[in-house]
Amino acid sequence: MTERVATTPGLYPLPDWAKETLSDLKGHQKGDLLSGDEGAEITEAYDEVRAEYVDEQLEAGLDRVVEGQGRWDDMIAHPLTIHDNVETGGIVRYYDNNNFYRDPRVIGELDFSGDVAADLEAAADVLAGDAPLQAVLPGPYSLADLASDEHYGDEAEFLAAVAEFLAGEVDAFPDHETLFLLEPSLIESPPAEGTEERATDAIRTVADATDAEVVVHTYWGALEEKLYAHLVDEAGADALGLDLVAGDRDDTVYNVQEYGSTDSLALGLVDGQNTLVEEPETIADRVEWFESQVPVDSFETTYLSSNAELFHLPSNKSTEKLVALAEAAEVVE
């Protein structure tokens, strides 16, 4: 019997009040963005945002609660852009979106930061055990892909260093049930043929740092089949996350048919980039459609999720999608 778990990849849009409050407190320019040493007023505003995110997820009835990553000004590049040995360069495009982040230029050793752990501690405090906590991090492959290396000097060495850095961060996390590693770069700029293992080694380094269930979440299309096979076998993931919204979902089904899958899977069923809110029944149909195509009697766990981060949406629609996901997990057969 497959367990259905409603969750999200995090990175929620700031509530509208916080968009205003924080832009007033911080400013609009590149130099005004978070560097990880914000003062009391800003910290307080983010505390309030975090509490709102937690309440919203509990109210929606999600099975995993994320911190919400309100502080992540630079989207999934955040763990680097606030690091002491990283300088932020120009504003660069965030994948194929009308979104931009500060280019993290790594100029020194990626030693322990503890920034994400502190946020997770704060979320755990608010949550007070009312639901299982889910940690969210960029996967090492994507984080290295989004950054510029001006210290390590070698691509493989840099990727390994980013993985070690993330593993060190995970090590400091409070208890968490699940860890989502966001890896859109595996689809948007996949490793060159022959270097797949380098990517999967890096992911495994991070996955090994926790006892929690690890989901390697990919989005913005289907994985190349060879890379998919490597990820299933070598990444140390309990579940791969697959996008059934963007791109060709038949390619994704084909990958699972041909190469099998991890014992659990995360499915991107809700469009994180369109305001049209899916009906719970529609989401449930998508789960059933997918499961009927693949030669597996049951998975240990199927995570019902949005494909991409939810910050692409206005706040009200993001909230509605949380509710739809939670209800879908109840509806699905």
Binding site: S23, H28, D32, L33, N98, F100, T275, L276, H312, P314
Partner: protein, 359 residues
């Protein structure tokens, strides 16, 4: 439909133009709003204030007079009102097109947000979008008025599409609406329309969709109405020479910002449209000297002969301080007149430009 730029350019030559040569000077559209106008925009939202929508309209009228006049003082051959009535290039139109709804701001970067609308049902044409704006500006201007309109590709792709099976289909429906608006503008006397498609710069593989949309926009529009297309900074090699097939008279491109690195893209095959060349940078606060702008204009003459060269800033200048924006316009015009004089005097050799198709 092929459009012949020679058919309509002369109508913009001022009667008292000092030179035989004529480099059409223009702007892309937006201009810094006076501080008081921003305050007025905020004040009308304040329930405790007596400042109401009639007052705001008066403020907008005043600002349009002011900025239109500022463009004329700078000596431009064609002017706009600086888009004083417009808030944002998608929002302004989405508010006027049935089928769109707003759900709140979405993040672009950091704490910069965009009120990205959703298309929730088939889009439709209701009231004219820009006819009042055009008529007002036209009445206060002595020079011909150019009308910038956000293009259907940008209006479609910079929105959430909830209603159409594909965004391409939404774009074509929007193009039909833009066509209707252009017809109304032409009836009201507009002679120079500029379609703005900044989204094309981010997804250049979609140039065929933009081409089809433009065919719809110009359908039934007479040849003497000048149609321009503005595309912001991007990789032009990915849309050239395909864009030469577009049914427009003029391309307005941002090249100054990139130091004319991409200029050669437009040399082969020969540029058959009029080139509206960005000759001042809108991202730098330093005002370019007249000599520097003259050098930029001469870059344009490497691509087209003078009778096909239009001179403009790279993009809308709204992010510059107002004083800087004005001085850039002023220097731009002076530089254009200087280059014209040099051309008249035979001091500039423009035969390096490919000969225009004269068949």
């Amino acid at each position: 439909m092929v459009r012949n730029p020679d058919a309509n350019r002369e109508q913009f030559r001022p009667h008292d133009h000092p030179n035989e040569s004529f480099l059409l000077t223009t702007v892309v559209g937006s201009y810094p709003k006076p501080k008081w106008l921003n305050r007025a925009d905020e004040l009308v939202e304040d329930p405790g204030s007596k400042f109401d929508h009639d007052h705001l309209e008066e403020a907008h009228d005043d600002a349009c007079r002011l900025i239109t006049n500022e463009h004329e003082r700078a000596g431009l051959d064609t002017v706009v009102d600086g888009e004083m009535r417009r808030n944002e290039m998608v929002e302004f139109f989405a508010e006027r097109i049935p089928g769109y709804e707003f759900n709140g701001p979405v993040k672009v970067w950091g704490h910069n947000y965009f009120d990205k609308p959703s298309v929730v049902e088939e889009v439709a044409y209701d009231e004219p979008w820009l006819v009042d704006e055009f008529e007002f500006t036209s009445n206060v201007a002595e020079k011909p008025v150019k009308v910038p309109i956000t293009g259907p590709y940008t209006l479609g792709f910079w929105a959430f599409n909830e209603a159409y099976p594909s965004t391409e289909e939404l774009v074509y429906d929007l193009a039909d609406l833009v066509n209707e608006e252009v017809e109304r503008l032409v009836e009201a006397g507009a002679r120079y329309i500029q379609i703005d498609e900044p989204a094309l710069a981010t997804t250049p593989e979609d140039h065929a969709i933009v081409g089809e949309a433009l065919e719809r926009i110009v359908s039934g529009i007479p040849e003497e109405i000048r149609i321009g297309l503005h595309v912001c900074y991007g990789d032009y090699s990915r849309i050239y020479p395909e864009i030469l097939e577009f049914p427009v008279h003029e391309f307005d491109v941002e090249l100054c910002n990139g130091g004319y690195e991409q200029l050669d893209v437009f040399k082969q095959p020969a540029f058959t449209k009029d080139l509206a060349l960005g000759v001042v940078d809108v991202h730098r606060k330093e005002v370019e000297s007249v000599e520097a702008i003259e050098a930029n204009i001469r870059k344009g003459l490497e691509v087209v002969p003078p009778e096909k060269l239009t001179v403009s800033p790279d993009c809308g200048v709204k992010l510059l301080p107002r004083e800087v924006a004005y001085r850039k316009m002023e220097n731009l015009v002076t530089a254009a007149r200087n280059v014209e004089a040099a051309l008249d005097a035979g001091e500039l050799d423009h035969v390096t430009a490919p000969a225009p198709a004269d068949d």
